[in-house]
Structures are given as C-alpha cells and as structure tokens.
C-alpha cells in the first residue's frame, strides 16, 4: 500500500493518480469502440470528459450546499480543493446523469453506444481495484493463506488484487467477443452479467462490506438481482425471437 508518492516537495496521491489513468484509458477505449461501431467517437470521448468534470463539480458543490452556513463568512473557500470537502457519491451519480444527458442531446444515446462503453467500464473497475490496493481500501478478511498480504495490522485476503484480476478477466472476455455479439445491447448485458458474477463471488472475501437485511452483503444481493434480471430479459427475448 503506497497512498502517497513523494517526489521532491510534491506529494502525489497515488489512488487518485490510478483513477485518473484508468479514466483516461477507459475514455480512449470507449471512443475507439464507438468509432468501430460507426458511432460518433468524438461525442463518446467528450461525454466521458464532461461526465468527469460535472461529477467533480457536483461532488464539491453538494458539500458546499450541505454546509452553506459554514461558507457564508468566507465564500472564496468554495473554490478551495480539499479532498475531504466533497461528496463522492453525489459526484458519481451526477457524472452518470451528465454522461446520459450529453449523449441524449447529441442524439447518440443508442444501444451501440452503451455496448461501446462496456469494455471501458471494465477498465474503470480495474482502475478502482488498483486505487483500492494503493490506499488500503476494500480490504479483505483475515486469513492464513500463503498469498495473504499484511494490511491494517493483520494478514488478509488481497481482495484488491482478486478484484483487479476479476475486472481484467471481464475486460478480456468483452474484448475477445466484441465483434461477435448477435444483437445491439448484447455487450452491455454481457458486462452486467460478467461483472456482477465477479462481485458476487469476490465480495465474500471482503471485510468492509455494506450490509443489507441484517447481515447479508449488499453487493452480493445487488449483483444477484442484476444477474437474474438480465437473464429474465434474455429469456423474454428468446421467446420473442422464436415467435417471429
């Protein structure tokens, strides 16, 4: 775990750097895939870029709105960029909304565009796992297995590495079959199923799961529901195509 890289007088937050590199690679893959699918590659790249900027602004502004009274005496502090003064969840949701609205306004919100985004999302998951490894977040349960890592004063499952490999496998699967899907939207559904399977399996080794209905791991419940929903959709589609 190396949360900070010291270069001379500068302290670089490595998790943020990993995410930034991941976003950059994901945007590149997204725009190339969009181009290959005869969609507007420039719009794909710009949608991701504006989503990133919109997400960052929303994360910061939501914090300021929530604590507006604190900023009345010093309004210029609104422009200060402290890492602890933003709401990342709000930023994430706002980023998705900006992405969808941008594509919609450019008349490019189509199934082909969502399919183009699937491998890019897998790369983003790789970046998140790498960022977690660097920061020590997303840590695993204690174990005596020989490949355990020393983290937070205990030998633990290297869940960040499991998730990084799982996300890479999802990317490899989507990339290998990217030209072979039989209908528009298939790559997106394949991403939902494959990534949900990875999360359903690997969440079992995490020690920091959020809980649902008592002591069930929330991510496992959400992943299983997503898998079942997509499979029911595919069952319905199979019925329709046979009926034609």
């Amino acid at each position: 775990m190396y949360p900070v890289l010291q270069i001379g007088g500068a302290s670089i937050q490595t998790p943020g750097l990993a995410l930034l590199v991941g976003v950059w690679i994901a945007l590149d893959i997204f725009s190339r895939e969009a181009g290959r699918r005869r969609q507007n590659a420039e719009h794909a790249y710009n949608a991701g870029f504006y989503a990133l900027i919109g997400g960052l602004i929303a994360a910061r502004l939501s914090f300021v709105v929530l604590h507006f009274e604190s900023y009345l005496d010093s309004p210029l502090s609104i422009f200060s960029i402290l890492p602890g003064s933003a709401l990342p969840n709000v930023g994430f949701i706002a980023g998705i909304i900006v992405w969808l609205v941008f594509l919609k306004r450019k008349n490019t919100l189509k199934l082909e565009m969502l399919d183009a985004a699937a491998p890019a999302l897998a790369i983003l998951a790789v970046a998140v796992a790498a960022a977690n490894f660097l920061s020590g977040d997303g840590y695993g349960l204690e174990t005596s297995l020989p490949w355990a890592i020393d983290l937070w004063s205990a030998k633990r499952h290297p869940t960040q590495i499991y998730e990084l490999l799982g996300a890479l496998a999802v990317f490899g699967f989507l990339w290998r079959y990217r030209t072979r899907w039989s209908f528009d939207g298939a790559a997106s559904l394949a991403w939902v199923i494959s990534y949900s399977v990875v999360r359903l399996v690997l969440e079992a080794f995490r020690a920091d799961s959020w809980l649902l209905l008592g002591n069930l791991r929330g991510i496992q419940v959400v992943s299983l529901l997503a898998i079942v929903a997509v499979m029911l959709l595919l069952a319905r589609r199979a019925q329709k195509s046979r009926g034609v």
């Binding site: 929530l66 604190s70 502090s77 402290l82 890492p83 020690a207």
Partner: protein
C-alpha cells in the same frame, strides 16, 4: 447459450438458487458488524489507532480517554506555516464547542520548551502532546504537515485531510461529527 425461453428460465432459476446459497454462506460475522469492529487504521471508516503521549507539562493523554466525544486530531510542527495558520481556528471552535468536541494537536519531533513557547505565543489552550520520535505520526502515516483527522464519538475516523484546513471546511466537518 440457451436457445429457448424454457432453457433460459431453468438456467435463471439455477443461478438464483446457487447465488442465494453463496450469499447466505457468506453472511458477515457478528464481530465485524459494528463500526468500531473495523481494524484500527489511519483511514476514513476505520477505528482510529489508540495512543498515549506525554504533554509538555508531563501529563499523559490517551486518545481512548475521549471515547464518547468527537475528536479533531491534528499533527503539526512549529516550523510549519500552514499549521500555524489553521491553529487559531481550531482554538476558536474548541472554545465555542464547550467540551462537545475535543481538539488534540500532536506535535511531531520538537521539544517541550519549543511547543510551550509556541502555544503561549499563539494563545493555544487545547492539549498539545509530544510525539518526540514521530512514532505516532508513523502509525497514522502522516506524510505532510498539517494532517487533520475528524474522529466520531465511537472512535471511528470520518475524514482525514492533508494540508491546511480552511475555516468553512473545519466548521463543516465538526458539524458532521456533532450530527453523527
């Protein structure tokens, strides 16, 4: 890949059953279910590592002494300009809070005389324990001065900020601790 609706439905049921059994087998053990059950670590969401340090007057202070009260834990040094700049705001909020929030300023690798003179000059009255060998700073992985942690009444770190904390951000994070 299944070709018929029936085949898809059978496969869906199998996946749902296997997935449910897997999720049930991996329910979270009771000892990991409360926030303070997380391992102590200098990271938001974790229990703040405990320490006992000596103040410049020889009195001892432990972080666990303040369990039940939100704590703002600040690592600083007298030569650090941003530390000097933010400390009057800490003092002001500490006084205003009237014991609802505890401020602790851990001085790293300086003498009791230096800290005492600095505190008198700046009018700081909240506890300023000494970390002469930077042992606690290492436990908290302090990479830059100042570093400030906002710890809730259960001892769990809610926020960790590297660099100078401006007044609105300090005010907002303290409000969060009190609302929790």
């Amino acid at each position: 890949m299944p070709k018929t609706r029936q085949a898809w439905m059978i496969m869906t049921i199998v996946v749902a059953v296997v997935g449910s059994v897997w999720a049930m087998l991996n329910r979270v053990p009771v000892e990991l279910q409360n926030p303070s059950g997380r391992p102590p670590a200098p990271q938001a969401g974790h229990l703040a590592p405990d320490f006992t340090l000596t103040m410049e007057d020889g009195e001892q202070i432990a972080l666990s002494d303040f369990r039940g009260t939100p704590v703002v834990l600040n690592f600083w040094a007298t030569w650090c300009g941003p530390c000097r700049a933010e400390m009057p705001a800490f003092e002001s909020i500490w006084r205003e809070s009237d014991g609802q929030v505890q401020f602790i300023g851990v001085n790293v690798q300086e003498s009791a005389a230096q800290v005492s003179a600095f505190a008198t000059g700046l009018g700081i009255s909240y506890p300023l324990p000494l970390d002469p060998n930077a042992a606690i700073a290492r436990v908290y992985r302090v990479r830059a001065f100042p570093t400030t942690l906002f710890i809730d009444e259960q001892g769990v770190i809610q926020e960790m900020i590297l660099g100078q904390v401006n007044e609105p951000s300090l005010d907002a994070n303290v409000s969060n601790l009190l609302e929790n």
